[in-house]
């Protein structure tokens, strides 16, 4: 019986390990290329990290740096040159500005609305809620073109506003919070009213703290989605490098697959991808929760 159990386990592990290896291939490729020298990349040699021999990099000297500056180990060169070639901190900063503003505005709009839908009685409440349910059907990417036309007519192309405005309303957020507030006992709100609190302070001083777990899940969902989003920034940011979000930056590094050095390019891609992946590995449980709450009932 026990032996049969172990055999049963081991074929599962076999399958899962093959699956895991396939899943990891591009990650391996990405990390490995960001560490190795151009010759090693082109001859597919050197395994994961390459030989790391100290050498002088010709592309670097061509950019006007002295030979002394351009002599170092490949992994160091790749990351150093990536930061020299493109304003990577700027891209990361833009990513942060955009994702954080989107999340804050979403909460500012959604939290009072969901509180009203869950706990206040007013005329037209059912209608507003069914409107929310209908809007849940509309993916913003699908209506990107008319939104773009509207923003272009308003002269907002190539601004932070264009990156943020379409995402300010999260119907999903309203829906999620409303479901959450439905479970909050009315006594809590009544007690707050007895203490003389107005509806505004109830929203921000009573409901907000109560909603922290749901908000955290929503924050992760929102930040991940907008940090990784490429389609929308690609449309509304046409040339201004100062507004590039991380994916647009990546897109620019790619340049020509035939001409450029691959090491620094992959180093910049690793730099942009790593923050989210590290955050995910640290707070795995919360991430999985946050992302899977998307529309669960």
């Amino acid at each position: 019986m026990l032996a049969r159990h172990y055999i049963g386990e081991s074929w599962k592990h076999g399958l899962l390990i093959i699956g895991a290896l396939i899943v990891l291939i591009p990650f391996y490729m990405m990390v490995s290329m960001s560490l190795k020298s151009q010759q090693e990349i082109q001859s597919i040699s050197g395994g994961l990290v390459g030989a790391q021999e100290i050498q002088t990099f010709p592309v670097c000297t061509k950019h006007g740096y002295t030979e002394e500056v351009c002599t170092m180990r490949p992994y160091k060169y790749n990351f150093w040159f990536a930061f020299k070639k493109a304003p990577i901190p700027r891209y990361l900063m833009n990513g942060l500005i955009v994702t954080v503003s989107i999340f804050l505005i979403q909460v500012l709009i959604a939290l009072p609305c969901s509180y009203a839908l869950a706990k206040l009685r007013f005329k037209g409440r059912e209608f507003v809620f069914s409107m929310v349910l209908f809007c849940l059907l509309i993916p913003v990417h699908a209506i990107a073109l008319p939104l773009y036309v509207m923003l272009a007519k308003a002269g907002l192309v190539d601004t932070y506003a264009a990156l943020i405005i379409p995402w300010t309303i999260s119907v999903f957020g309203i829906f999620l919070m409303r479901q959450f507030f439905m479970t909050v006992p009315d006594e809590l709100i009544d007690a707050a009213r007895m203490d003389g609190m107005g509806e505004y302070s109830i929203v921000w001083k009573v409901m907000l703290p109560v909603a922290i777990p749901a908000l955290l899940a929503f924050a992760i969902f929102s930040v991940v989605a907008h940090w990784n989003d490429y389609f929308w920034p690609r449309i509304v940011i046409t040339g201004n490098r100062d507004l590039f979000t991380p994916p647009l930056g990546i897109r620019e590094f790619r340049g020509g697959i035939d001409s450029d050095e691959f090491g620094p390019m992959m180093a910049s891609i690793v730099t942009v991808t790593v923050p989210l992946i590290v955050a995910f590995i640290i707070a795995q449980k919360r991430f999985v929760e946050g992302i899977t709450m998307t529309g669960m009932k």
Binding site: V23, I174, F287
Partner: protein
């Protein structure tokens, strides 16, 4: 419940934004699709159904529908089945499940655009490790397994692997060949999506009461497969429906991998709808055609979701 005027300030910002950002654009797209409007032109004319007629008569758009349908019909079932299989397997493991879960979820988290570039190099005919791995395996066990030599009816002339080995390592140019491009894009889509489905299924599995399995065993369902058929699969019905819908909607919107890897080519075999909207309306500035595609796209998605809700109401209630 409480009477107050506060709701006006609570609800109206959301209502206005919903109307302006989500509902108005649909009508705007509908309106533009009946004109010859281009962004930048000051005037336009109503052209009736002309844009739609173009869409349904020209070959490009037939290819667009075929590419989109192929992608959705491959990626959705495959990523759902693989996600379910992974979840069921992980659920029955005694150790190591967390590590696999982390690894399988990585592609969901990672910036898809970055991963598309990583795949581009992985699949590159001369720089990529896939083709060098295949070339190293000529004549060995890899050729036997991946070339399907273990199937009795596959001889060395029929096996794609052996043919490539014999022709001076002529392995596929995965993304550049019109025979393989769409399948490669589908593969990357499955790679990216299945971890998400797996996590949803894992959540679904934990809500199945243990007693049901005991009851099934009493009724004579002893094998794992019988128990799966009798208990697990029906109990996962609502999860499956949700997973299928959300994967379908996401697959319809595939864009990042296409723009980076194939640009809709070779010969429009990967010309999916989102990319078509982008290319026509943004790159070539033919706003009206883009709007017509947008309308068809939205109709697809709304029909699909209504269908899902209908099925939920009618069928999957316990």
């Amino acid at each position: 419940m409480h009477y107050s005027k506060a709701h006006i300030w609570f609800v109206w910002p959301a209502i206005i934004l919903m109307i302006v950002i989500l509902i108005l654009p649909i009508f705007l797209a509908g309106g533009i699709s009946f004109t010859n409007y281009n962004l930048g032109n000051s005037s336009f004319e109503w052209v009736g159904m002309e844009n739609y007629e173009k869409m349904f008569s020209r070959k490009t758009y037939t290819k667009m529908i075929i590419a989109t349908a192929t992608y959705v019909l491959i990626v959705v079932p495959a990523s759902v089945i693989i996600g379910l299989a992974a979840a069921v397997m992980l659920n029955s493991l005694r150790f190591g499940a967390d590590i696999y879960k982390t690894i399988f979820f990585l592609p969901v988290m990672a910036t898809l655009l970055a991963m598309a570039i990583a795949w581009e190099f992985t699949l590159h005919p001369t720089l990529g490790i896939i083709n060098s791995f295949l070339a190293d395996g000529c004549g060995g066990i890899r050729e036997f397994i991946l070339g399907f030599h273990w199937l009795p009816w596959v001889g060395s002339e029929d096996s794609w692997y052996s043919v490539a080995c014999a022709n001076n390592m002529d392995f596929p140019y995965w993304l550049k060949d019109k025979k393989t491009a769409i399948w490669t894009i589908c593969f990357i889509g499955i790679w990216q999506a299945f971890g998400f489905n797996m996590v949803l299924y894992l959540a679904g599995l934990t809500s199945i009461p243990r007693e049901l399995y005991h009851a099934a065993e009493m009724d004579g369902a002893h094998s794992t497969w019988e128990q799966f058929k009798l208990v697990t699969w029906p109990m996962l019905g609502p999860t499956t429906l949700f997973v299928v819908t959300i994967t379908t909607i996401r697959s319809f919107q595939v864009f990042d991998t296409i723009e980076i890897l194939t640009k809709g080519g070779p010969s429009k075999t990967t010309y999916v709808m989102m990319y078509a909207i982008f290319e026509k309306a943004i790159m070539q500035n033919i706003t009206s055609i883009g709007a017509a595609i947008t309308v068809v796209f939205i109709v697809f998605i709304i029909l699909l979701t209504f269908f899902q809700r209908y099925v939920i109401e009618k069928r999957v209630h316990y």
